[in-house]
Point group: C2
Chain length 214, copies 2
C-alpha cells in the first residue's frame, strides 16, 4: 500500500508540474499550442511519460482548463471570501481580478479570455469545458452582485447579469489592451469605468474608496 | 503594355481571392493558422502560385490584416460617414459595429479581436501591424466622440478615450460571448450598456432612439 501511495503521489506531483507549464503555454500560444511533445521537452520528461499522465491532447486541454480554474480561484475567488457578502465582496473581486491580470498570474495574461477567443468558433468538448469554467465565474460574480442588491447597496440596479456582463467586458478589454501596448493604463481605465458604473447605481462612495476603487 | 496590365490585373484578382479566404481562416483559427499550403488547397491554386503572391508567411499575415481592415472600413466606417458628425455618427458606429459582429462579416466573428488576443503576448511585426490597424479604429471612434463633445451632445463627458475604451470593451465582450454561447443576447446587453452610458453622459434620448439604440 505504501509503495502504491508513493507512486500515486509522484504521479500527482508530475501532473501538477506538467499542468503548471501547460497553463502558461496555453495563455500565450493557445490551447492548440499544447502538444505532448512540447510539454515533455519543456519539463524534461519523456513523451511517453507525459502521454501516460493525460492520454489524448484533448484530455490534456481539458485538464489544463481545470488546473487554470483552480489557480484563478486561488488568486481571485478565495481571497474575496474574506470580505463580507455584498458590495464589499464585489469590490474585492474587481480589485483582485485586475491584479490577477496585471500581475500576469498566467504568463500570457488571462488564460480564460485567451482560450475563449481561441475556441469560440469551434464547437466540441474543449469549448464545452471552457464554457463550464466561465459559467462558474459568471455565477460567482452574479451571485455576489445579487447579495449587494438584496442588501440595498446598489439601489438603482435591476439586473445583476447585465452588470456582470459589463464588468467582465471591462476586465477583458483591460487585459488585451495592456498586453498589446505593454501598458498599465488600461487597468486604470477599467477601474475608473467600474467605479463610475457602481456609483451611478447608487453605491456608497465610502465603500469604493475603502476597497481602493474610488 | 496591355499584356502587362492583364497580368497585373489577374495577379490582383488572385491576391483578392486568396486574402478573402485568409481573413476567414484567421478569424476562426488565428493568424498562426494561415499557411501557404492550406490557402493554396482552399482556393485550388498551386502552393508556388500563392507563395509568389505573398512571399513569406509573415507577409501573408500582414496582407491579411490590411485586407481585413478594408473589409471592416466598408462594413462599419464608410456607412457611418453618411451620418452627421457628432453623437449621431457615434450612435451609427455602435449600431454598425454590433451588426458587423452579429452578421459574421468574418466567419469567426471580429477578426481584430481574435488576432489581438492571439498576438498580444507575442511582440513582432505581425503584432505591430495589428496595433496599427487597431489604432486607426480607435482614432476614428475617439475623434467621432470628440465631435460629439465639441457640439455639447455629451455634456458630462470629459475624456473621449475613456469612453472609447468602454465602448470597445462592450463590443468585444458581446462578440466573444455571442460566439461561445451561440446567442444574440450579448449584443442586446452591449447595446443596453452603451445606451445607458451615453444617457448618463447627458446624451439626448431622442438621438439614441432615432439610431435604434434607445
Amino acid at each position: 500500500m505504501q509503495q502504491m501511495d508513493g507512486r500515486k503521489a509522484r504521479g500527482d506531483e508530475s501532473r501538477r508540474t506538467v499542468l503548471a507549464r501547460a497553463i502558461d503555454i496555453a495563455s500565450v500560444d493557445g490551447l492548440e499550442g499544447l502538444t505532448i511533445g512540447r510539454l515533455a521537452s519543456d519539463v524534461s520528461a519523456s513523451k511517453s511519460g507525459v502521454a501516460a499522465l493525460f492520454g489524448s491532447k484533448e484530455q490534456l486541454q481539458l485538464a489544463t482548463i481545470e488546473a487554470a480554474s483552480a489557480v484563478f480561484a486561488e488568486a481571485v475567488i478565495e481571497p474575496a471570501r474574506a470580505y463580507p457578502r455584498g458590495l464589499r465582496r464585489v469590490c474585492a473581486l474587481v480589485r483582485l481580478w485586475l491584479g490577477y491580470s496585471a500581475d500576469r498570474v498566467f504568463e500570457g495574461g488571462c488564460f480564460f479570455l485567451a482560450a475563449s477567443v481561441e475556441c469560440d468558433s469551434k464547437p466540441g468538448p474543449v469549448r464545452d469545458g471552457l464554457i463550464r469554467a466561465l459559467a462558474t465565474w459568471d455565477g460567482y460574480l452574479g451571485v455576489s452582485i445579487g447579495y449587494a442588491m438584496e442588501q440595498g447597496e446598489l439601489p438603482e440596479l435591476t439586473d445583476a447579469e447585465q452588470l456582470a456582463f459589463e464588468i467582465n467586458a471591462l476586465f477583458n478589454e483591460s487585459n488585451t489592451r495592456s498586453l498589446l501596448h505593454g501598458s498599465r493604463v488600461p487597468y486604470e481605465q477599467a477601474r475608473t469605468a467600474i467605479a463610475a458604473r457602481l456609483l451611478s447605481l447608487g453605491a456608497r462612495p465610502a465603500i469604493l474608496a475603502e476597497a481602493g476603487l474610488g
